[in-house]
Homo-oligomer: 237 residues x 4
C-alpha cells in the first residue's frame, strides 16, 4: 500500500476527490439497482449508458493517475492502483468473460471510497491501535474459534438426537454457535432439551465476553494511543 | 442552539420546569393513546379536550418565553424556540392542513424533554467527548457503510440463487446486513447455503467490532475528558 | 440499608453463611419446581414438607438475628431485616391470604443471596463507580427513553398502514423499539417497507451507541476508581 | 498446569508445533465430517484410516514428550499431559467402550490448539487481567444469576396465564431470561401481555449493563496491566 502519491497537495490531485467519490457512490447505486428483479427496459438502458459514462471517467482518471505519479510502476502495483484497474478492466473484457464474474469484480470499486478516509489522522491512529493490540487480537481469534467449535460439538450431542433435522451435523451446530455467540439469534436453530439449554447458558456466559473482547481491546488501545499522542504534544511544547 | 436564556436563575423561568415536563409527558401519552385502534368515543373526546388545554398552556408558555427573553429574535430562531413553535402551530393550522401531517409535527414536543437535561454538566461533557472523538466516529461511520454494502453484495451472490424470494436484490441483502451486523437478527432473512453461512461468519467476526467500536470510542473519550477535568481541578487547588 | 451488623467478625454470625446460602438456593429450587405442570403427588408433598423445614430454619435465623443485633429496631427496619421478615411472613399468613400472592412474596428470599457479596470490597467499589457516573447514567436513561419513543412513533408511521395488525399502535411500536434497540430482535415485529427499513437502519446506527453507553460508562468509572485506589495505596506506602 | 516443559527452546520440542497443530485441525475436521448424515462408504473408510494414522502420530508424540520431560510424572499429571493421554486413550479402549463415549472424549484434542497460544506474552497478560478483576467478575456472575432468576419468576407471573404452553414453568422462563438478557432473542419465547412487555423493558434496561459489564471490566483490566508493564519497562530503562 504505497502512499507516496497521497502526500501530494490537494490541488495536484487529478480530479476533485468529492466528484470521484460521488461517482463511485452513483456507480454503486447503479450496480445495486441492476440486481432488482422486474426492471423496466427504460431503467435497464439508463443503467447501461450510465455504466459506459462511469467507466469512461474512471478510465480517464486511471490514465491521469499513472501519468501524474512520480513512480508509475509503483502506483500501478499499489493496492489502490490495482483496485482502480480491476474496476474498469471487466468492462473491456466483457465480451470475453461471462456476465456473472464481471459483476463480482465491479464491486471492488466501492473500496475506493476508503480513499476519502486515507488522509485522516484518525485512520492511522486506528492502525497503530491494531498493531499495539495485535497479539491479543490473534489470541482471542484463536480462542474464539476453538470455543465456537467446542460449543458446536457440545450442542450437537445434546440436540442431534431430539432434532436430527435441525442439528444435522457438527457443521450445522457450528452455524448455531456462530449466530448464538454473536447474539444475532436468527431463530432458525435453538436448543429445546433441558441439557442443551443449560449448556447454551454456560456457553453464552463464558463466550459473550470472548466475542465482545476484541472491540473492547481496540477501544482501550485507541485510548492508550490517544493519550500517548497527547503526552508527546505536551512534551514538545 | 442559543443558550443565553438558560443561564437565568431558576426562579426567573416562566413556569416550573417540572410542571412543563409533566405536561409534555402527558401530551405524549395522549398522542400515543390516540393511535390505539377501537377507542371508545368518551376516550376520544377526553383526548380532544386534553389537546386543547395542553396547547393553550404551551401557547401561554411560548408567549411568556418570547416576552421574557433578552434577545427575542434570537430565542424565536433558536432550536428550542422553533421546537416550541412547531409544537403548537399545527393545532392552529389544523383546518387548513390534513390531520395526518398535523400528527407528525406534534411529536416534536417530546424533544423538549431534553431541556431537562440541558443544564447538566454531564451533557456538556458528552458534547466534548463527541467533539474529541468526532474524526474517529466519521471514519467508523464511513467504514461501517462500506462494510455493510460489501456484506450485502456478498450474501446476495451466495443466497440469491437459492432463496430468490428472500434475497431479491442487493437492497434486501442490505437489510439483512444491517439486522445481522447490529446483532438484532429478526430471523426474517438468514443464509442457508454453506458458502453464505461461512461468509456470514467472516462478516460477523470482522464487522461486530466495527459496529461496537463507536460506543467504545465515546466511552474512552468520556473517560479521558473526566480525567482531564479532574486534573484541572487538582491543579487549580 | 444499615450495615452496622455486618462489621461483626465471622464467628459471631448466627449461622455459617454458606449453610444459609445453600438453603436459600434449595428453597429457590423448590419454588421453581412447584411451577412445573404435571407434578407427581409424591413430589408435591416432598416440596410441601421442605417448605415447612426451610421456613422453620429461616424463622429461627430471623429470631437469632434480632436477638444478637446491637440495635434491634434498626435491624428489623433495615433492608435485609425486612427481606428476612417478608420471606417467612407469607407462610404464617397463608390461611388468611390466597395462594397466588403468597408465592409472589416468597421469591424475595433470593435477594438474600446478595448478602454473600455484601462484604466484598469490589461491591463497594461498584457503588462508588455508580455514584461517580450517576449524572451521566441519568442523562442517558432520559435520552434513551426519548429516543425509544421517537423511534416508536417513526416506525408506527412507516409500518402501520402496511402491517396494521402488527404495528397496531404506538405502544406496540414501542415494544418493537425496545426489542430492536437492545438488539434482542425476537422476530415478532419487523419493518417490511423500504422507508421503515431505512428508518430502522438510521435508528439502529444512532441508538445502539446510546443503549450500549451505560455499560461503557460504568466500566470506565470502575477503572477510574480502581486507579484512584491504587494511587492512594502507593502514596500511603 | 506445570509449564516447566515449555521453557525449553524451540528446537528441543519433539515435533514442530506447526505440524502438530495442523494435524489437530485435520483430526478435528475428520471428527466433524463423521457427524454428517449420508456419508459415502469411501469417505467413511478414508476417515477410518485417517483416524489410525492420526492416533499413531499422537501416540508417538505423547511417548516422546514423556521421554524428553525433565520431570516425567509431573508432565503426565499436568493439564496438557492428561489432555494428550485422553486424546489417544479412547482409540485403544474402543473395543471395551461403546462408540458414543469414545467420540465425546476425542474432542478434547482441540484444546491442544491452545498450546499454540501458550507461549504468547498476551496470554499471560490476560491471565493477570483476570486475576486483577476476579473479585468483580465473581460479584457480577452472582448478581447476573440472581437477576436472571428474578427476571424469570417475574415473566412467569405475567405470561404463564396467557401463554401456558410457552412459559410452562420457571425453568422455561429462565431460558427466556437467558436468551433475552444476552440479546440472542431466538424468538421461540416472547411476552405478549402489556405487563410482560413493560417488565421486559425494565429488565433489559437494568440487565443489559449487568451482562455486558464483565467484558468491559476485563478490557479495563487488560488496559491497566498494559499500562503497568509500560511503566515498568520505562523505569527499567
Amino acid at each position: 500500500m504505497a502512499n507516496h502519491h497521497d502526500t501530494t497537495p490537494f490541488l495536484d490531485r487529478p480530479l476533485p476527490s468529492g466528484f470521484i467519490a460521488a461517482l463511485i457512490v452513483f456507480s454503486t447505486l447503479c450496480f445495486s439497482l441492476e440486481t432488482l428483479p422486474d426492471l423496466k427496459p427504460v431503467t435497464r438502458s439508463f443503467l447501461y449508458y450510465s455504466e459506459i459514462v462511469i467507466v469512461a471517467i474512471f478510465t480517464a482518471e486511471y490514465a491521469y493517475r499513472i501519468y501524474s505519479a512520480k513512480d508509475r510502476l509503483r502506483f500501478i502495483f499499489s493496492f489502490y492502483g490495482l483496485v482502480d484497474l480491476l474496476a474498469i478492466l471487466p468492462f473491456y473484457l466483457a465480451p470475453a468473460l461471462d456476465l456473472r464474474s464481471l459483476r463480482l469484480l465491479r464491486l471492488l470499486r466501492v473500496l475506493r471510497l476508503l480513499k476519502l478516509a486515507r488522509y485522516h489522522k484518525a485512520f492511522s491512529r486506528l492502525g497503530e491501535a491494531f498493531r499495539l493490540a495485535r497479539e491479543e487480537l490473534v489470541i482471542f481469534s484463536l480462542a474464539t474459534l476453538i470455543f465456537l467449535y467446542l460449543a458446536a460439538v457440545g450442542i450437537y450431542y445434546f440436540e442431534n438426537p431430539v432434532q436430527p433435522d435441525v442439528y444435522r451435523s457438527v457443521f450445522d451446530a457450528l452455524w448455531w454457535a456462530v449466530t448464538s455467540l454473536t447474539t444475532v439469534g436468527y431463530g432458525d436453530m435453538y436448543p429445546i432439551t433441558p441439557g442443551g439449554r443449560i449448556f447454551t447458558f454456560v456457553v453464552l456466559m463464558l463466550g459473550l465476553g470472548l466475542v465482545a473482547m476484541p472491540a473492547g481491546i481496540i477501544a482501550s488501545s485507541l485510548n492508550a494511543i490517544r493519550r500517548r499522542h497527547e503526552d508527546d504534544s505536551e512534551e514538545s511544547q
